[in-house]
Symmetry: C2
Subunit: 585 residues, 2 copies
């Protein structure tokens, strides 16, 4: 179907599939479309003919439409007007793409074809009739395809096939029924921004090589600090590679603030330092303490109430205990939105205690920070404005693509003095612009990925009110789920009361267990229910939701909703699916 | 020009610019093209008419072509066949995109238009007639455009304009004359892979949600270990957010290997630990030591020879000195490819010393690791196979888009035991698949960005031989530059001899300084030359190269070549440009 004589650099699909509803018109247009450049013909045909590939759902082999495309013209006129012999992707290699001489057109064609594959995936991601996951066990997946690296190059036909295959086995994290993690969903503006970020391919360490992104980080962090409630948005901050690193940075800065000599002298020069966080807090606090040479034994886990909130009186008791031993309390990390229960520690009470004992107050709002965007829900973080530092991950509740985690610090300049090493090859003191915009010495990282643009562009596209609407909707869906299951046969709530965040924690009790007494045998059998249902979910590929044990509570489901695609019907579906898959257990 | 009656969802450009060479044919085709979907019409027109925007070069206002596009049809037939009233981007918002009901077509159109903007940027990036940078001072750039975040959403017309504006002020890091950092260039397959990574939007912590990427990380790290020379590629590793973090992870693991109790007890439980690295090594070693509670005073900088290589006898002397004081040497970090000189420490001699004194040997090959891909140059890393850990950043010499940094560890299992915290909500022990594929407990990070796919896909596309060809070419270009300037009037080399890596370090001495005696005044004046030339380069936007002082050497240029687009002419251009901009100083 290629038209070598058309004067255009054209592609021909050898795939003869047709649109059953309107074959004539579609085919006619498609023939016209084939005269156009850059894979456009195929894209049009795909839209007109419908998608004839369906690799993810049919489970069949990946027969690449791209593989059969032909590419004509290697002349040097732009746009060319002369016909040339056919060349197909099987004869093109990476070396034929830009910056190769004459590489512009094959590059545009190749990137457009990649884009078509991506667009198809995007559309499928939101289609409830497709699977969330086409699950294969690791050994199966290793054998299903040749993933090995070799000495010799592969042609672009093979490269396009790899892209399709990779997506065939990927989890559709934007699928309306994907609830497995705190980060779910696929935002279209965020995605576009991430593509742009990749294309700009730069590094955050200096204004010199990332002027716009550095300014946008400045603007965005300032806005986030305003929302936290620090006067005029003053303070400091940085985007870091995830909440665990943000929390570690906070611990690092808190230690430095109290004992600046630790930077040169190490922990040997300071007394034993103790950090406090709740027993429901994220494990990154312990990881950070282990890394920082503080040791996990020096992280004291404060008791929580039945809803997973830190008990302030226990915090104060433990602080006094530690002081009596001659140790130095240096950090309290309160959690705003715990990972499993979605609990919000009482920040005002924690702030009072931190003030009383002069301890750095950190708030890990990686998961709960998003609620600050909602006028209805932000009261749950009352007191956050009194924190010395805050971790807030827009890649969780705000739906920004991964990764996007901010650490906000109230005192300006502390990050810089804690981390700076004055590398003269990067932070030349005689540059011709204002050096305060070079951010590379504020953190442990030297090079730093551009994580801000997707958040900034989404914020422009949605406005604060758009994030608010998203968050209010997710919380409303969580309450909807809670209301359905709280009195439904076969369900037991892990804790009472309506959810504070979107976390809804529950056991599904299969009929065979409902008649049993509440003893160890029942617990033991109940602990096996969620893993089996989850395994079945993944094998059917219909939905994904997380489960875990916690303390003395055996495996229960933790439903979370951050997915903008989720609707009431998807919640209904989840319930039906759990019941379908767990009925016989 | 929109064709509401065509039965297609169509765009019309109101921009009347034409192709002067072939106006009739182009316009005719363009009119046909306008009938097609998803921004394709405009893409075709841009190709036919030529690029009439040139925002980056003209310095003019960003008049968005996208802004004037019209979008027709809001019907619910797919593909639709009925005409509807025009809707333009000014009336569309993020809420009209997927997962919105009927969001598929506006989404495809919007993403395609973003893509067109990106493709235009890609093409310009490689065009030597465009500027590398359209430089603005921070305050200027803040005022030039409204970057602020607001409560209310903006429409998609504005969002597309933001994309264009962001790229207008971006540094073209793929430009053939961009030499400013160790990471330069824009690889087309790597870019495609990064777009796919963004679209898949997942997290590396478990196989469950990133099956393919987790396997590809396994395959790729194993291959890298084979190349390092560990038997059968055995060992461990992870992709981390940059070389500084990889180096810190190595230090963390080395400490844990010697004193596993440090994880629980902290540095208080262990003797004073000392790390050794050369005075030319990367500052991240000191940053890591500061963070880990070891302290920068416990990082001893070993003397280098005139080429920047660590002197083994000085290393041994300092180790003995430290041991005599009762301190414990626990880590030597040798550098394979220093940041400024590109020097390779003598790894075999360092390995002998580490073996003798039972010290963990780390090799920071962030910059030099790429040379392992070249049969001609890999001898420079002889001895790397004796290291306990290696940092290797494919985002530097191998041209993989940012970020892509690997830490390789010879002993398997150590990373896991050093960092694991057994978070039950992620690493459930009763999952139905082989848990050894869950990587989230191997590092400090919890969530982890997918950095492997771009390296893997590039490796498939180029083969090891393709990376080899790239590296050999860059080293040949560095030698070409060295040969031109070593005896050229007005140049002084910072060190003698041909470059071992692509780093070429030199002073340009303007005519007015050539007549001066070699005294302090000359040094003082010479130190101001490179900053002025660099500032002028950026203002003209013609090229970018780095400079810095080092030790007692005043500001000199550090040329590095990792850009696959660079050619001999670009090297010639750089020399001419330095002379043009520095002649009057």
């Amino acid at each position: 179907m290629a038209s070598p004589g058309s004067g255009f650099w054209s592609f021909g699909s050898e795939d003869g599939s047709g649109d059953p509803e309107n074959p004539g018109t579609a085919r006619a247009w498609c023939q016209v479309a084939q005269k156009f450049t850059g894979g456009i013909g195929n894209k049009l045909c795909a839209l007109l003919y419908g998608d004839s590939e369906k690799p993810a759902e049919s489970g069949g082999s990946v027969t690449s439409r791209a593989a059969t495309r032909k590419v004509a013209c290697t002349c040097d006129q732009k746009p060319c007007s002369c016909p040339k012999g056919d060349v197909n992707y099987a004869l093109l290699h990476a070396t034929d793409l830009l910056p190769a001489c004459e590489g512009e057109r094959p590059t545009l064609a190749f990137l457009q074809d990649v884009m078509n594959i991506l667009l198809q995936y995007v559309v499928k991601s939101f289609d409830r009739s497709t699977k969330v996951i086409d699950f294969h066990y690791p050994n199966e997946l290793l054998q299903e395809y040749n993933w090995e690296l070799a000495d010799q190059p592969q042609n672009l036909e093979e490269i396009l096939t790899h892209c399709q295959t990779t997506l065939k086995y990927a989890i559709k994290t934007g699928h309306p029924r994907y609830f497995n993690q705190l980060s779910t969903g696929l935002d279209m503006v965020g995605l576009a921004a991430d593509w742009l970020t990749s294309t700009a391919n730069t590094n955050m360490f200096t204004y010199e090589i990332a002027p716009v992104f550095v300014l946008l980080e400045y603007v965005t962090l300032k806005k986030m600090r305003e929302i936290i409630g620090w006067p005029g948005g003053s303070g400091d901050g940085i985007f870091s590679p995830g909440g665990a690193i943000s929390n570690m940075y906070a611990m690092l800065i808190a230690r430095y603030k109290m004992f600046p000599e630790v930077k040169e002298k190490g922990m040997a020069a300071v007394p034993r330092l103790i950090a406090f966080t709740s027993e429901h807090s994220h494990f990154s606090l312990k990881k950070g303490a282990a890394a920082l040479g503080i040791g996990t034994d020096s992280v004291i886990l404060i008791k929580c109430d039945e809803r997973g909130k830190m008990i302030p009186s226990d915090l104060e008791r433990r602080i006094l205990e530690v002081k009596q031993k001659g140790f130095v309390p240096f950090l309290v990390s309160a959690t705003a939105g715990t990972t499993v229960y979605g609990a919000f520690d009482p920040l005002l009470a924690v702030a009072d205690i931190c003030k009383k004992y002069k301890i750095w107050m950190h708030v890990d709002a990686a998961w709960g920070g998003g609620l600050l965007m909602s006028r209805k829900h932000k009261w749950k973080l009352n007191g956050v404005e009194r924190a010395n530092s805050v971790t807030w991950n827009p890649h969780k509740m705000m739906g920004v693509p991964l990764q996007c985690s901010a650490l906000l610090v109230r005192e300006e300049g502390l990050m810089q003095s804690c981390n700076q090493m004055h590398a003269s090859y990067l932070f030349q003191q005689d540059k011709h612009y204002d050096l305060s915009y070079d951010t590379g010495d504020k953190a442990l990282q030297c090079g730093r990925h551009v994580d801000v643009f997707k958040l900034w562009l989404m914020w422009r596209a949605k406005g604060t009110t758009g994030f608010e609407a998203h968050i209010d909707k997710c919380l409303e869906l969580a309450e909807y789920l809670y209301n359905i299951i709280k009195n439904r046969e076969g369900y037991e709530m892990v804790f009472d009361g309506k959810p504070q965040h979107t976390n809804v924690c529950f056991w599904f009790v299969p009929p065979s267990l409902r008649v049993l007494e509440d003893n160890e045998e029942r617990m033991s059998r109940l602990s096996k229910v969620a893993p089996v249902i989850k395994a079945r979910m993944m094998e059917y590929g219909t939905t994904m939701v997380s489960y875990q044990p916690l303390g003395d509570k055996v495996n229960f489901f933790r439903m979370v909703i951050s997915n903008p695609a989720a609707t009431h019907q998807d919640i209904d579906f989840l319930i039906e699916e759990i019941e379908r898959l767990g009925q016989d257990l």
